[in-house]
């Protein structure tokens, strides 16, 4: 199989799928030319991500990694969410094919972009280095 059962499960039954009205932070990463765009919405209460939604344009693993990432940050503090690494997402999904790893990078970045948006809206100061532009390397080939 191209994809693990976990990936197929998250692809076929994505968790936290949807848009969010009045989100506290919204991040959008990727580009359509490259074939993947992820948009992540977070609701933050007292520094805790109480709700999260995503919309994704992309392949099976893009949808699955988005879904998994939302599950992994829901209920966490925004600081913990920033710690989410793409490797952690890949592991949680029982692996991804090599040429699909970039999808997990996007998921990590979508979370970061949403948190950054939350920081910016709330004038919370942060270390800019945390959000250094790290785009999908494939798009820059």
């Amino acid at each position: 199989m191209l994809y693990s059962e976990k990936v197929m499960d998250h692809f076929q039954h994505p968790r936290n799928l949807g848009k969010m009205e009045n989100a506290d932070g919204v991040g959008e990463v990727g580009n359509a030319k490259c074939g993947d765009i992820m948009k992540m919405y977070i609701k933050v209460d007292d520094g805790i991500i109480t709700d999260v939604k995503f919309n994704t344009f992309g392949c099976g693993s893009a949808i699955a990694t988005s879904s998994m990432a939302t599950e992994m940050i829901k209920g966490k503090s925004v600081e913990d969410a920033l710690e989410l690494s793409n490797q952690a997402v890949v592991e949680a999904l029982d692996g991804l094919p090599t040429h699909k790893i970039h999808c997990s990078v996007l998921a990590e970045e979508a979370v970061k972009a949403a948190v950054k948006d939350y920081y910016d809206r709330n004038n919370i100061s942060y270390d800019a280095a945390l959000f250094a532009e790290g785009e999908c390397p494939h798009c820059h080939e």
Binding site: F11, Q12, P14, L17, G18, K19, E28, A32, K33, C34, G35, D36, I37, M38, K39, N55, T56, F57, G58, C59, G60, A62, I63, H99, H102, H138
Partner: protein, 395 residues
């Protein structure tokens, strides 16, 4: 229910062909190059298969070379014409932008070795213009290679016209007819084709076997070196079961080709009509000058892989682009050649039909595609932007 609509990737084996293969494996077990009677019996079966295939193509049996498939046949045809051209100082090759990778990657390799490659553009209809071929031919053109039918969008190329121009200009003409043989009528002699590649598994024959037709008088060089098989031009123990199975499948499929063409193209047209009603959907390639079984659409705002995985969930086996590029992230070079932007090219769906499909299946597919497209658009940030007018619709 499971609807197989990926016949351009590979077809189910014809039961007659499978019987022939089994018979060969158990009863004609000799090596056709062996002199004993077990071998000579095998040689006879092989000769019969060679003659049958030649007859279908309008060729002489001495012009048929068995290869391991379409890819190898394409490689050998191109390398051979290049090697012959090089001897005469001709290092220019003309092809099209929508060829299969078996052709394009071979040409890229030759380019590294100092050949000049002209890849002709196609129109929005996905069809090469014969006049472009005429204008591209130069004194040092060693080969023109244009596919008979495209594997993604199914467009049929004006092969007779192009081949006639090449004959007139005395340039070797090769066609990758892997998607066409067994589906549309072909006669190499009447159509002035110098070399032609075919692959059995695209017409319900076995995998791993194909043919390179080479007209008498056209030089053929080896791609692979070894023993004396195939008059020394393609060494390796002959794959008799597959050769005989291929001949049986080809005979079977051409025996009722006209009826199949009619049936399959009417199924195709039902699909095209139904899918065209989905908003911001677009049929890729000319609506009529295409393979009877090929349907290829782009749906704006969604991505192809998730589309086909969800269709598979609903029991529809389809494809996005060609099977052999599934390891790649790039959108189809064929769709890009039609002038589609990258993001639209990502959202393509190929359905390729066979005689086994039914009208009911077509209606099922239309509904399934509509549902899946709606679901995916609903979760697509790209579609959201299009709907909000932040981005402009392309199709």
């Amino acid at each position: 229910m499971y609807i197989y609509a990926d016949n351009a990737a590979t077809t189910k084996i014809n039961p007659v062909a499978m019987d022939v293969m089994n018979k060969c494996m158990t009863e004609v077990y000799g090596n056709p190059s062996s002199l004993h009677s077990a071998g000579q019996k095998a040689a006879e079966v092989m000769q019969k298969a060679r003659e049958d295939i030649a007859q279908v193509l309008g060729a002489d049996f001495r012009e048929i070379y068995f290869t391991s498939g379409g890819t190898e046949a394409d490689n050998q045809a191109i390398y051979s014409a290049a090697a012959f051209g090089e001897k005469k100082g001709k290092k220019h090759i003309i092809s099209s932008a929508i060829e299969h990778h078996a052709v394009l990657h071979t040409l890229q390799r030759l380019e590294k070795e100092g050949f000049e490659i002209t890849l002709l553009d196609v129109g929005e209809d996905g069809i090469v213009r014969p006049e472009d071929v005429r204008q591209a031919i130069r004194e040092d053109t060693a080969l023109v290679t244009i596919m008979y039918a495209n594997n993604e969008i199914g467009t049929l190329q004006p092969i007779s016209e192009i081949a006639a121009i090449c004959r007139e200009k005395k340039v070797i003409f090769h066609t990758d007819a892997v998607q066409a043989v067994g589906h549309v009528p072909i006669n190499v002699r009447e159509q002035n084709i110098d070399m032609l590649s075919l692959s059995a598994h695209k017409f319900h024959g076995p995998r791993g076997i194909g043919v390179l037709y080479v007209r008498k008088g056209v030089p053929l060089f080896n791609l692979i070196e070894g023993g004396a098989q195939e008059r020394g031009r393609r060494p390796g123990t002959e794959n008799l079961p597959a050769i005989a199975g291929m001949a049986a499948a080809l005979k079977e499929v051409v025996s009722h080709m006209a009826a199949a063409e009619e049936k399959v193209s009417s199924l195709r047209d039902i699909l095209i009509e139904g899918l065209s009603k989905i908003p911001h959907a677009r049929l890729n390639g000319d609506a009529k000058r295409r393979l009877p079984g090929n349907v290829n659409f782009c749906f704006e705002g969604i991505e192809g892989e998730s589309l086909l995985l969800l269709l598979d969930n609903k029991g529809v086996a389809a494809s996005s682009g060609s099977a052999c590029t599934s390891g790649s992230l790039d959108p189809s070079h064929v769709l890009l050649a039609l002038g589609l932007p990258h993001e639209v090219a990502h959202g393509s769906l190929r359905l390729s039909l066979s005689e086994e499909n039914t009208k009911e299946e077509m209606y099922y597919i239309i509904d399934a595609v509509r549902e899946v497209v709606e679901y995916l658009r609903d979760m697509s940030p790209v579609w959201e932007a299009l709907e909000k007018g932040e981005k402009e619709h392309v199709i």
